[in-house]
Structures are given as structure tokens and as C-alpha cells.
Amino acid sequence: MSMLKLPAHASTGERIWHYTYLVICGLIFLFLIAPILIVIPLSFNAEPYFTFTQKMLSLDPDGYSLRWYDRILTFGMTAPEAIRDSNWWRDVWENASWIKAAKNSIIIGIASTILATALGTLAALGLSRPEMPFRRLIMGVLISPMIVPLIITATGLFFFYSSTGLAHTYVGIIMAHATLGIPFVIITVTATLVGFDHSLTRAAQNLGATPITVFRQIIMPLILPGVISGALFAFVTSFDEVVVVLFVADFDQQTIPRQMWNGIREQISPTILSVATILVIFSILLLTTVELLRRRSERLRGLSPG
């Protein structure tokens, strides 16, 4: 690799070590990424196996198919064999298990994200003020949902929700997921507020702006990248969460990760791989968005050129 240059006077031993080191790094990067990418080609397997068939290896088109993607739609339908007209699609929309799970995941994810982002952003503004009393303790409490093992949170919520009637309700799940997403919102928004120039808000106030105008015109544009990143983190946390759902949700309240969990525990079918592929593509999109936002935020705050 030419990007890490060795000095011209490096000894043979150093050269050998240098290239060994690069190979080791390459293998570790492979270890990180290969398990995630391997599911993508396997999800197009024409056979119900979890490994590459002879036909796939020889790149024979017969070895590949979209049958497992089709199965995402047909699994759980009342009449999967019917002609694929508008009625068939309505059947998909209303009855297919994965579609129902996706709808639940999206509803719960969006609602808990809005809750977590609104409360979390407000709190981050307070926490980043130097006058904030008991800052360390309160910060510790607010971040703890990220640290405390999910099984403990789920156990506590199970007892609490059974005694308050929130068990098996969407409100209960949304509140729980919002709590789990809040630490991410606080961390990302506080990070954008580090080095925030408070003289900007004072200048605006001096010029006669009301607190709401100051927030909308001065603070919000500067912290927006952090808020959006935090919101995405909160959404992904909810979208990926299964332990709390297993403990407090009703049997009908399936979400995508819960459906995957059930699928893996009962009888693992390659349909799981096609769902996994879609989720990997989804996370690539999210990662791209967050990276773009991070760079924009750094540019806005003048931390990095261009």
C-alpha cells in the first residue's frame, strides 16, 4: 500500500513487519465486514441451503433466484397462490407477516424517535449549560438506559407495565423504546453543542430576539445535524430492539427483529437472509446519511475545512 510510506532507510526486518502488519489489518477488516456481506449473495440462493451451491460458484444463473424475496411477501398471506392482481397485493398489505411486522416496527420506531428526540434535545440544551445543577448525576441517570443490560430493563418494565396496564400496548412499547433511544440523542446533541459559541445567542438577544426566535434562528440550524443523527440512532435502536418487545408486547405485536428472532429459533429459512439483506442495505443508507451529517456539522462549526 502506498498510502503508508516506509522511510527509505527502513531495514529488511522493518519492511517484513510492515507488510505483515498491513496483512493482519486486512484480515481484521475482512473479519468485520465479511459476515455482513456474505448474506447478500446467499439470499439469492435457488436452493434452501445456507451455503454456496456448485451452481452459484460457477455463476450459473439457475443457481440464483428471487424466491426468498417472494417469500417475504407471501408468508402469512391467506391466498398466496392467487393471481397477482390488486387483490393479491391487498392481501400482501393486510396479511403478510413480514409486512405487518414492518408496519409495526415503523410505527413504533417513528413514534419513539419523535418522543426521544424532542425530550432529548431539550435536555441536551440544559445539560450543556454551565449552570446546570447536579449535572454529572443527572447525565449518569439519563445515559444509563444504554448501559443497563436490556434484560434488566425488560424485566423491570414487565413488572411495571403489568401493574399499570401498559403491558401489551403500543404506548408501552413506544415509551420503552424512547427511553432506550434517549442516551444516543443526548450524546450526539451534546457533542454538537461542545464549542457552541454562546455569544451568538447573546448577540441575538441583544438585538431583540425572543427566546423562541433565538432557538429557531440561531440554535436549531447549528445543532440540527446532531439532532438528526441522534434521531437516526434512536430510530435504529427502536427498529433493532427485541428483548423489551419479547417481554412487554402482545403476541400479535410482531416487529421485524421479533419476527427474525422467532424465525431463527423455530426453523431458520433462507427468507431470513433476504430480510437481512434488505436490512443491510438499509443500514448502508443510514450510515451514509449520518456520515454526511457529521461532515456538515463539522463544516458548520468550522472544525474541519471543506
Binding site: 433493532d240 428483548v243 443500514s283 450510515l287
Partner: protein, 436 residues
């Protein structure tokens, strides 16, 4: 204030009282008031979230802690017998007992009355389950006796012993006495593999029945091993990422961040696909002739499975803190050491490595804290030897329905995690946690 002429004292303006704010209040008072206002304003911004988190997180966990010491399924459903136990509090072993080591007719009469009540309210199963935690086989004894409760007649002692001679077991009476108290540390004892003997003293359970302590030990040991593995794998790549020019490291960073953003279940599924005995890794090993077709390695449904999958899943949490520390270390130090005659390994161990220790501390602690509480991955790839303490908590919550024991186990885990979290905050500071 009278001005005394003096050569050395600085001249003060005449008639200057204490310094005041524009409205005439003394400045320090006005300042104090303004500071207090600012403090309240800052707190009010945080208050809604704090209230929310207390409601949805702190209170439920508090309730769980409460559950771990409180269980009224016996005392609430067996009031007469509970009252008898209270009235005949055993000061010494054998108090209130007949010569045969059993309580007298009055206790059996109370028991018969309670069983009749339990039959009425259909709570015999609840009571039986509670006693069954400590003495197996008791549940059926309670349900069976409750079914016949309205046919019981005095003398009740003889009648109940006639229904089932297990009522004549002194150990059962000892267990019932302990179950009759609403609050007890009994579930913590059980969670630490301890029990009461016949005399009511605490003792360890026999070696072959120890479950929880070995599982705690395994959880700690596997988490430590995973942390070390993560460190060994993360250190070289974090170093590379920190040294490379930004345009290259940004691209390689995707390899770290994509797993971080990918669903936990997707990553676990991927490992299941890879590690199956008919999976990609075994196929590759067979194709390369490293193992024979019938000698395929069992990589999943055991500790190896848990170890590999969790190391992969937690690796980004090690790379990111290491990277952010390494990025701030100027490479000039190592170069200076080399030019002063240090060998590459001396330059690394004496100059570079000590500067990365804060990153190592942050990463190892974070990975360890997260690993200790893992549930999903061990449940799916761990088999029976790769289960962690969380899996047993889930088992008691969902299968055995011994909620108090689950709460006690969860509380012990929680104390451990809080201790580590406190340590993390002391050493690194939770403000310094960053993603990406």
C-alpha cells in the same frame, strides 16, 4: 465611611457604598439571583426528560428490586396459617411443636381453613408454586389437598395426614414458615446458590446443584475474554486508521461503522449461517482440505459460537474509543524516540503504547459492560454451554415463572453493572462517549 488621609492607601471615591446593580440591589445579591435563575432555567430544560426517564426506567427497575425481596403469594393467600406462624414465632427450634416434631392441631386447623379458602379463590397453585421454589413436589401437594379441603373434618391433623403424609414432613413446615414472611432475602440466597438447612441456618447447596454462581463466573470470564479479543483485534486497525491520511481512513472506517449500524439480529444470523456445520466456513475448510467432510468443526451452539459472534458484534465499540485517542497522538514522538536510538519495539512500548492507555481503558470497560448483559446472541448461537446470566434471567421470567428469583438475579447483575458504570464515569467520563 470617613476618609482618613494616608499616603499609601489607594484613594477611594467618596460616598461609595457597596457596589450595586442598576436597580439598586447589591451586586452580589443580584448576581446570586441571576445565577439561581439560570440554574433553574437549565434544570427546567432537563426536567421533562428526567421525569420521563424516572417513570419509564428508574421506577420499573426500582419495582424490580422491590420484587426481589418481596413475595406475598403465601402470606396473602394463607392468612390463618401465616397468623399462626407469627403467633408461634420459633425462638428456638422446636417451639410450638408436638413431640413428633410437627405443629399441633391448631396449626393444622389453620392450614385446613386456608386450604378451603384457597380452593374457593383458586389460589392453591400460587401458594404451592411459592413453596415449590424451596421444596420441589409441593405444588401438587397443595393443589391436591385444596381439592379435598371442604371434605376435611376435625381432627384436622389426622385428616390432612390422611390426605397426604407429606404434611408430616418437618422440612415442609420449615419451608412454609419461611415462605409466610412477605419480605425475605431468600431469593438472593437462591441466586447465590445458598439455602436454609432444616435448622434455618444458611448453607451452600451441594456442588452438583450449583447453577448461578458458576454462571456468574462464566459470564464474567467470557466477557473478559471477549474484551481482550476485541482489544487485540481493534488495536492494529485503530492504529492504522489513525495513521492513514483522512481520505483513506474515511473509507476504511466504513468497515467499522457498517457493522455498528447493522441490526444485531442480522449480524447474529450471519454468524449462524457462517458457522453451521454445513455452512460457509466449514465448506471452505473442507474444500481446502484442512478438515475432512465428516470432521466438520462444531463452531456453533457452544461457547466458541458465543465468543466469536460477540467479539465481532462488540468490536466497533473497542475500535472507536481507541481510534479517537490514537488520532490525538502525534507521530513525532515515536519518530523522535527512533532517531534517539530506540528500537521499533522500545519506541512502541515505551513511547506510543502508554499514550493509548486511556483509549484501552475506555474500550475495554465499555465492551465488558455491554458483554456482561448480552442476551440475544448467546441465546441464538450459544447452545447450553454458551449461555450467560441474562439467559437464565429470561428463563426464570418466561419459563419457570419464578419472578422473584429472576428479579434477584437481575438485581445482582445490575449492581455489578452500576459499579462498572461508575468506574467508567470516574476514569473516562460519560461525556466523552462518542459514536462515529
Amino acid at each position: 465611611m470617613s476618609t482618613v488621609a494616608s499616603d499609601t492607601s489607594p484613594s477611594l471615591p467618596v460616598d461609595s457604598g457597596p457596589i450595586t446593580a442598576a436597580d439598586g440591589t447589591p451586586l452580589h445579591v443580584a448576581l446570586q439571583r441571576a445565577t439561581r435563575k439560570a440554574r433553574i432555567r437549565a434544570f427546567l430544560l432537563v426536567a421533562p426528560l428526567l421525569a420521563f426517564v424516572i417513570l419509564t426506567f428508574v421506577a420499573p427497575i426500582g419495582q424490580m428490586l422491590w420484587r426481589s425481596v418481596e413475595n406475598d403469594s403465601f402470606s396473602a393467600n394463607m392468612p390463618a396459617l401465616t397468623a399462626w406462624f407469627k403467633a408461634n414465632e420459633a425462638v428456638q427450634p422446636g417451639a410450638g411443636l408436638d413431640s413428633d416434631g410437627l405443629p399441633g392441631e391448631d396449626a393444622f386447623a389453620a392450614l385446613a381453613a386456608d386450604l378451603a379458602g384457597a380452593r374457593e379463590n383458586r389460589t392453591a397453585g400460587v401458594v404451592g408454586t411459592r413453596v415449590n421454589y424451596d421444596l420441589s413436589g409441593s405444588r401438587s401437594l397443595f393443589t391436591k389437598s385444596a381439592r379435598r379441603a371442604n371434605r376435611l373434618e376435625a381432627p384436622y391433623k389426622a385428616a390432612l395426614l390422611d390426605v397426604d403424609e407429606d404434611w408430616g414432613n418437618p422440612e415442609l413446615w420449615g419451608v412454609m414458615r419461611r415462605s409466610s414472611s412477605t419480605y425475605s432475602a431468600g431469593f438472593y440466597l437462591a441466586a447465590l446458590d445458598m439455602q436454609y438447612d432444616a435448622q434455618g441456618n444458611v448453607e451452600s447447596v451441594p456442588d452438583n446443584r450449583r447453577i448461578y454462581v458458576p454462571l456468574f463466573v462464566r459470564t464474567l470470564w467470557l466477557s473478559a475474554l471477549i474484551s481482550v479479543l476485541c482489544l487485540v483485534l481493534a488495536y492494529p486497525i485503530a492504529h492504522l486508521l489513525a495513521r492513514l491520511p483522512l481520505r483513506y481512513s474515511n473509507i476504511l472506517m466504513i468497515f467499522v461503522l457498517l457493522p455498528f449500524w447493522t441490526s444485531l439480529l442480522v449480524r447474529t444470523t450471519s454468524w449462524m449461517v457462517l458457522m453451521q456445520s454445513q455452512g460457509v466456513v466449514n465448506d471452505l475448510l473442507v474444500a481446502m482440505g484442512i478438515v475432512s467432510d465428516d470432521g466438520r468443526i462444531q463452531m456453533m451452539y457452544n461457547q466458541i459460537g458465543t465468543l466469536i459472534a460477540m467479539t465481532h458484534i462488540l468490536l466497533p465499540f473497542m475500535v472507536l474509543p481507541l481510534y479517537s485517542v490514537m488520532k490525538t497522538i502525534p507521530h513525532d514522538y515515536v519518530r523522535a524516540a527512533r532517531s534517539l536510538g530506540a528500537t521499533p519495539s522500545t519506541a512502541f512500548w515505551k513511547v506510543y503504547f502508554p499514550q493509548t492507555v486511556p483509549g484501552i481503558g475506555a474500550g475495554v470497560l465499555l465492551v465488558f459492560i455491554l458483554a456482561v448483559g448480552y442476551y440475544i446472541t448467546p441465546a441464538l448461537v450459544g447452545g447450553s454451554s454458551g449461555q450467560l446470566i441474562s439467559n437464565l434471567i429470561a428463563f426464570h421470567m418466561q419459563k419457570s415463572l419464578n419472578w422473584s428469583l429472576a428479579a434477584a438475579l437481575a438485581s445482582l447483575l445490575l449492581f455489578g453493572v452500576i459499579l462498572l458504570y461508575w468506574l467508567y464515569d470516574r476514569l473516562i467520563g460519560i461525556d466523552n462517549m462518542k459514536f462515529g
